[in-house]
Amino acid sequence: MSAEVTRAPGIESGEARAAPPPALRLVGISKSFGPVQANRDIHLEVEKGTIHGIVGENGAGKSTLMSIIYGYYQADAGEIEVHGRKVEIRSPQDAIAAGIGMVFQHFKLVENFTVLENIVLGVEGGALLGPALRRARRMLVELARDYELAVDPDAVIETLSVGLQQRVEILKALYRHADILILDEPTGVLTPAEADHLFRILRSLRDEGKTIILITHKLREIMEVTDRVSVMRQGEIVATRETAATSPEELAELMVGRKVLLRVEKPPARPGDRVLEVRDLCLRDEKGVERLKNISFDLREGEILAIAGVAGNGQSELLEVLSGIRAARGEVRLGSEPLDVARPDARLAREMGLAHIPEDRQRRGLVMEFHGWENTPFGYHHEPRFDRGWGLMDQKEMKRDAAGKFERFDIRPANPDLEARSFSGGNQQKIVVAREIEHNPDVLIVGQPTRGVDIGAIEFIHRQLIELRDAGCAILLVSVELDEVLSLGDRILVMFDGRIMGERRPEETDERELGLLMAGVDPGAPEAGTATGAEGREG
């Protein structure tokens, strides 16, 4: 309270008289988790009625900073001002009271509750539920009308699409009279069309005078929707720019701290013989839901076949079946040998020349509690070179092997004695990539190779994959990142609802067309139709 009083004369006599105070002002925020400094002396001003982007690589401290603003974490030092007034935010309750709402990357919804129940949770306004639910229902109608935020109030969350669940999170914040809305990586799980809708909503919220803070690592989104952007690197804000006055190249350089190539340099593919043949692959899960529906494709040596799609449309199951982790029906031939998908055998698949970089490196790719050198032989641990006889493993050889891989793949810190968990996401992924690539597989199956990986490591991993392709390996790449699919793939398959919606060549398609396919819409007659359409618009 006293801070407010002492500030007031300063504002009247100072130069800030004309401009209203920023919606949010951070002064010297610092936060560390043990030895890791997640945020260091952060100063940030967010103008009222703007969309302010925050970009930075994974681990740059964006989410930590936002969690501090929302009171989910406590800062070690620093002050927060909301509309020129200093506020103490010790809990989400304080943040909500200060008019701050947050949409977390991983939604904070109760899955078996209805939309209404989720919205009133924590702001029931009385001991009984009835009046709260009625109030929320009326409010939902108004919000739906004002901001294109329609959603069935009685739907149970787990039956809603991810895009609708996110809408519920936004409604939750608005219902709590949020004036400053923070969204943490909101588009990671959305189709391009859903993302466009989200951006429309954000713009209309901004036009109503709300302040939006958008956290993302996707530069395209920053350029498209923000008014101003701040770049974070290693826990610090290194620059703030007007979006109109900057470029993706400049932002990328600021994020990484050096020049980066956003485009992947890739010579044309020279596909050879067919090495993987998949015919009519079908999979029904334990609940009886069809996850894969008659999947058929061929993969040739020396090419990268990319599979695009929104997460959860059967890609994970396809990876699991092909790598011998999960049983399915159908025919798969690896080289000239049939691979029995009804009786999956991951070891046999590896011995036949198939390597696998799993989607979830922390659960499938590594044992997080094991040393680096214990992780590098996984899947190949039964090879004679690691065998010392009597069922013992040759630890010296394992360590030597690991040290070589760490050096060749520039894994940092270059110490294989560390536990896998103590490496950053990018370096963990490099451990897995090194292990699989160095066995010169005939076929490499890769799931989300750069998820949660920093830009520097993405560049490195992409280069490795292309080199491997040019050496004659056949690569099946599954990714939800359209940029990655378009820049790495020699051919692109789009999966939707367990089916292959269509095949495209990267030079003959664009994000819009792929986005429609990912949403289950086949945009008219394939190939010829769209190609002429595009030409027509340009000419």
Binding site: F33, D94, K108, V110, E111, N112, L121, E124, L128
Partner: protein
Amino acid sequence: MDLDIVLQLADSSVRLATPLLLACLAGLYSERSGVFDIGLEGKMLIAAFFAAATAAVTGSAWVGLAAGLAASLVFSMLHAVASITFRGNQLISGVAINFLAVGMTALLGHTWFRQGGQTPQLVGDARFHAIELPGAARLADVPVIGPVYAEVISGHSILVYIAFLAVPLTWWVLYRTRFGLRLRAVGENPAAVDTAGISVPLLRYQALVITGILCGIAGAYLSTSMNAGFVREMTAGKGFIALAALIFAKWRPWPALFATLLFGLLEAIGIRFQNVELGGIGTIPVQFMQALPYILTVVILAGFVGKAIPPRAGGEPYVKEE
């Protein structure tokens, strides 16, 4: 089978189901909040002992009930501190509570009363007695309804009525109040509760207080109403049967009533029909009849009654993710 036997069976089903029902509802509050509680058994046992011991000394069943509640609450808070504050393993804490209760009641019982771990026989006001509901005698002659009212519904101790009233009350709390909404939410996704600005630990402590109270009533009922005193290990697995009933009921109050009544009925059958003659084959041994509730427990826990999905955050201490 004539009406009398049916009525007798129904009557004793109600009596036998009562402690199960109370324990089942106790478990419902705890597990709905995301804290697994296999220590229902131990809490009932310690409550049964302190209720009987106190009633024996003071001569008042009500004072005994208060003592039983207090003992059960203390044990429930032990579990709360271990599993909420210190984020310990909830199963281990529950096992510890069960062992502690068995050992403590035997030791204290033996030391205080020197009757081999039993408390003295409770007489007079030291026990809860049956209550005649108004009009039971007058309605008794009305066909069907009369005897049902007089035999099955009327004539139980106050604790039985408390147990059965706790069912609609729990339903109302769970689905019609703010506390209920938050309780259900915290057992499913504590992060959602936390980010909504509600304290997860406080909510779980509140749930475990209710669990303690209900287990306390269940224990007191066993030793001061259904029986006239405490006998060593008198809960005889009722806490675990209640857990099975809770799973059977899929953590919902009304189904919990029917599940516990089913167990009560099986127990009543086991007592009423000690040696059943099967024409030509022989007799079913009494041990089998008495084992019926336990057999059903195993069948339920083995998942033969359909998939029961527990509260999703159950058993997991809540730690903010980084």
